[in-house]
């Protein structure tokens, strides 16, 4: 079913336009005034419309601890852990990154190097899940359509562990 749809879409869209499209995610890590602050472990991934896992975008955790001990807390990003994390041997090239400081972070995924070029045409969401040591956990979903036929942008806002999360796609 999906295969046929993809083929049809590709025929209409033309292959090059699929590969040229890109996706930009802006994630705001809020500045929190707490006695003990740790940068949140954060996972960014793509889900299908039924919330099943489609592809990973980024995982930020404490990469610098000796013996990769930071991986001990990866399970705290519970949904990501269930859907993908527990299948992986971290660190993963192109996926793992250090935790980020409060502020807005912009990530752009595009071209053949990202997991996007393998996505069948359809409705998706970027999911951002953050878990903070001695703090809370929050998950935000922002929908998008892939591949984009025109530039589109959506956003959502976290309430405690995440600030604004926006997803922009353009052909």
């Amino acid at each position: 079913m999906r295969m046929r749809y993809t083929v049809a879409m590709t025929a209409v869209m033309g292959v090059p336009s699929v590969f040229a499209a890109d996706l930009t995610v802006k994630v705001e890590i809020p500045r929190l005034t707490v006695a003990e602050y740790h940068r949140p472990y954060t996972a960014l991934w793509i889900e299908k419309a039924d919330q099943s896992f489609a592809a990973n975008l980024s995982v930020w955790y404490d990469l610098k601890m000796k013996n990769n001990e930071g991986t001990k807390w990866l399970k705290d990003m519970r949904q990501w852990w269930r859907k993908s994390g527990r299948e992986l041997q971290m660190p993963v090239d192109g996926l793992s990154g250090a935790t980020r400081a409060p502020g807005e972070h912009t990530l752009t995924f595009g071209g053949a190097k990202s997991p996007l070029d393998k996505l069948p045409a359809g409705e998706y969401a970027v999911v951002v899940e953050a878990a903070r040591e001695v703090g809370g956990r929050e998950l935000v979903r922002v929908p998008f359509t892939w591949p984009p036929t025109a530039a589109q942008s959506n956003q959502a806002k976290g309430e405690h562990e995440l600030g604004a999360v926006s997803v922009a796609v353009k052909p």
């Binding site: 990769n68 001990e69 399970k75 994390g85």
Partner: protein
């Protein structure tokens, strides 16, 4: 798996029976792991084990650890460390060396006999062999029951695996359909109960959320297994849950009281098989 339990079962057969107090009907035996879903290179769990009224508070008796068994994801035996028993609880640690799902179990299988001699109540526990020697020829009203019980908990490092979930086909056992370390609030999990490896139909299953002390109602969920031994539970919220079921004759009667179930004999004891586990349900 079968050989793993049977090899280990003999020396520990009476461990649990011996530790349950005589008036234990209302008490619940449980193990509580510090975590059930773990990541990282060097994960450990620490487990409390106790017999109590409330869940999961240690306020009655420590559970003896003599019969503790641990199985690694590949089915081999693992070694719990730092075993200690205090007034109200026992505790031990387990290093999760392999990736996958571990099982911690306390398995009991023993006979209990009660009889009267000249109006005086007598009672003994043991094997068929030892009881045959102990029960005098002039015993009156002899009642023999076989009590099998199994307490299990599961913990997973990394991706959940199924090897330790395979039934041993002895007594009442939980055969998970939903993995016991993949439970989320709002989801419905399915399991099966097996008796000696065959579907245990029409068994009442009781599920009680932890934190009993901090609420007014017990909040128990009762479900019955279907013809295939299957049942499902929709988790109302995240937390630890105690799940238990009993098959067969009612708990033996109080001294002097009439037997609640059929009075068994040494050759054909009244059989009672029970199972309990502690499950952790995570928030969505």
């Amino acid at each position: 798996m079968n050989h793993l339990i049977s090899r280990a079962a003999a020396p520990i057969a009476l461990a649990l029976a011996a530790l349950l107090p005589l008036s234990a009907q209302a008490h619940r035996g449980w193990m509580l792991p510090s975590a059930t879903v773990l990541s990282g290179n060097d994960p450990w769990v620490t487990v409390d084990a106790a017999i109590s009224n409330d869940l999961f508070y240690f306020e009655h008796n420590a559970m003896k650890l003599d019969g503790l068994l641990a199985f690694a994801p590949d089915g081999s035996k693992a070694t719990p460390e730092n075993l200690a028993t205090g007034k109200y609880r026992s505790t031990f640690d387990l290093k999760l060396v392999q990736k996958g799902t571990y099982k911690l179990a306390m398995v009991n299988d023993g006979l209990m006999a009660s009889w009267k001699v000249g109006g005086e109540n007598k009672r003994a526990r043991g094997t068929a062999e030892s009881l045959a020697k102990e029960i005098p020829a002039n015993a009156e009203g002899l009642s023999v029951s076989r009590n099998q019980s199994r307490l299990e908990v599961f913990v997973t490092s990394g991706k959940p695996t199924d090897t330790v979930l395979k039934p041993t086909n002895q007594g009442l056992e939980l055969a998970p359909i939903t993995h016991p370390n993949d439970l989320f609030a709002g989801d419905t999990a399915s399991f099966r109960f097996l008796l000696d490896g065959k579907p245990a139909a029409d068994v009442e299953v009781t599920v009680i959320p932890g934190g009993v002390r901090h609420r007014d109602a017990l909040g128990e969920i009762k479900v019955r297994t279907d013809a295939e031994g299957k049942f499902s539970v929709k988790w109302p919220s995240a937390g630890f849950y105690w799940l238990s079921a009993t098959h067969g004759a009612a708990q033996r009667p109080a001294p002097g009281a009439a037997p609640a179930g059929p009075a068994g004999t040494l050759d054909k004891p009244a059989r009672r098989a029970s199972y309990s586990t502690t499950l952790e349900v995570l928030p969505q």
